[in-house]
Amino acid sequence: MDALLSVRDLAVHYRTAVGPVRAVDGASFDVPARSIVGLVGESGCGKSTLGRALMGVMPRSASIAAGSAVFEGRDLVTLSPAERRKLLWRRMAFVPQTAMNALDPVQRLGAQMLEVLVERGGLSRAAAGARAAELFALVGLDAGRLRDWPHQFSGGMRQRASIALALALNPALLIADEPVTALDVIVQRQVLDVMRELQSRLGLSMILVTHDVAVVAYACDRVVVMYAGRVVESGPVRAVLEAPLHPYTMGLMNAFPDLERAGGELVPIEGSPPSLLHPPAGCRFAARCPFVSSRCTEDPVLVEQSADHHVACWRAAEAPALRPLASEATTWSNIAKDATWSR
């Protein structure tokens, strides 16, 4: 496969007073060229940590503990800081989770764009001015608005502006962390449409971090499902969302209210993810999994169950039989009764 980025067994730990937090603990997946990959999972499962580690913009307490991430033929993990800096913004760019609120409120947007283009890209001021107008047009903003202050921009416009900033130097890979989470549905759709359009027009690849499977279904070609620091399932969106192999993915799909699916009770996944300070041995989903078996005390490995569809679950082969059970609320509530997750 023609992968732009290949992540293998990546582990990212935070040093804390009480011990290392294993925020990413053995993540493997590919980002093919010219595709949008959705990275989904519950709050705290390590999505932002993974995105930041790939970009090389981590807090001091974080470090890559193991694994590799081969991007355009070079392992990001072993590159020197100087070499990484050369890639940052030029080959890979980032829209952080709080980008929308990170625009400097006392500087006009145009000035902020110019600064980035001159400093990061070494463009002359004249060239930078023209490029800024081009970038605004690219994300569907009127170039005249470069003279505006950030507070004159709505949430959707600010998010478009932060995407434009990230694309300034024509990267091959864009990592966008929850780019539409704070937006309401109409604006969310408009921003997702801009991202899809950019992807096909510029031929770039994107990692779109989100907790919303509906956003993945709408905007992504592939999906990587994370749980407690691990990748538990990955593959083309159609395969993963229509025929999930991992019980957690099945649960995520059933927990979601669907505009077109009438009535019935929603099916919650009872409990909450384990602490990443002391992750449990064996399958990390076991405490919440209705299909747990004796084998699950052993760590399931991520395997290619069917063509290009990867899963880490001992019972993946039985998935077709488990899926109907997973759509019943009682299947999940029964385990909640005897589980001791309540913290």
């Binding site: 969310q188 979601f256 996944i269 009872e270």
Partner: protein, 324 residues
């Protein structure tokens, strides 16, 4: 049948940021965050209020709860006008109509145990202390936090977001209210735990025959918990009716765009262009005639001249559009 809670032509005008020029000319521009909203909810029913950010949903809720003074219009509770009540006269109303906040972590005092947080409203309500424990247990059971002992002596930080939002709900239910107003009750929660809280909301409404109002910008969620829906645009209700009917056949062009924008967790979905242009207009410079005119794909000459009133278009259904 008398509605449990009703609003008549509510208006809330906030003073808008004033420029020196306006002040010198004696202008006092106002922003009509809520601009003539009428609604009613009967016992055992739930009304959803949807609309884009800034359309006035939260302000409407605050007016209904009398947390904000209306510029004009009235709020009726069990058929009684409560708009003129002040101070102590408001207390019975306050314990009967409860609010559930968006963020459970902000809603709870972090230093109080769950038991103390649930006791406080009962004390304020004037219930005899010997009845407190039973009430608390009943409320905890209703939100499916059992056994209650496992939670009552903990502090908020010792619970997950979903558990804490259920505690917030238990606190709202402990005084046996008649109506509940929830502003984005699950938007801060993870998808996997949202479902549990929504189920609890729905059951509590049925079991206690509450009149419920849920605010959200997510129609899929409203569809799940509310049989009726009101769609707001720039401070006005532009469409209302049974949720299933409104979603299946929206009458207002804005509702059509909202329905089309809701992402569904399925791969084969329509990726056609949204039937709406641009973003919300400047609230202080709304177009003449129909306020939706500059974004409406169906706008025609009359829309610039005449504001469409909210009128009945079918039994139980209302829309404010010349074409509806």
């Amino acid at each position: 049948m008398v509605a449990m809670i009703a609003a008549n032509d509510l208006v809330k005008a906030f003073p808008a940021s004033r420029r020196m020029r306006d002040v010198l000319r004696g202008h006092r521009p106002v922003l009509r965050a809520v601009n003539g909203v009428s609604l009613e909810v009967a016992a055992g029913r739930a009304l959803g209020i949807v609309g884009e950010s800034g359309c006035g949903k939260t302000t409407t809720a605050r007016l209904l709860l009398r947390l904000e003074e209306a510029t004009s219009g009235t709020v009726l509770f069990e058929g009684q006008n409560v708009s003129a009540l002040r101070g102590a006269a408001l207390l019975p109303f306050r314990s009967r109509v409860q609010l559930v906040f968006q963020n459970p972590f902000d809603a709870m005092n972090p230093r109080f145990t769950i038991r103390r947080s649930l006791t406080e409203p009962l004390r304020n309500f004037g219930l005899a202390p010997e009845e407190w424990e039973a009430r608390i247990r009943e409320a905890m059971a209703r939100v499916r936090l059992d056994p209650p002992e496992a939670y009552l002596d903990r502090h908020p930080h010792e619970l997950s977001g979903g558990q804490l939002q259920r505690v917030v709900l238990a606190r709202a239910l402990v005084t046996h209210p008649r109506a509940i107003i929830a502003d984005e009750p699950v938007s801060m929660l993870d998808v996997s735990v949202r479902a549990g809280v929504l189920n609890v909301l729905r059951r509590a409404r049925d079991e206690l025959q509450l009149a419920a109002i849920y605010i959200s910008h997510d129609l899929a969620l409203i569809r799940y918990v509310c049989e009726d829906v009101a769609v707001m645009y720039l401070g006005r209700i532009v469409e209302s009716g049974p949720t299933a009917e409104v979603i299946a056949a929206p009458a207002h062009p804005y509702t059509r765009a909202l329905v089309a924008a809701v992402p569904v967790p399925r791969v084969d979905q329509d990726r056609g262009d949204l039937p709406i242009k641009g973003g919300l207009p400047d609230q202080m410079n709304q177009p003449s005639g129909c306020a939706f005119r500059d974004r409406c794909p169906a706008a025609f000459a009359r829309c610039a001249e005449e504001a469409p009133p909210l009128r009945t278009i079918a039994p139980g259904r209302h829309a404010a559009c010349h074409l509806a």
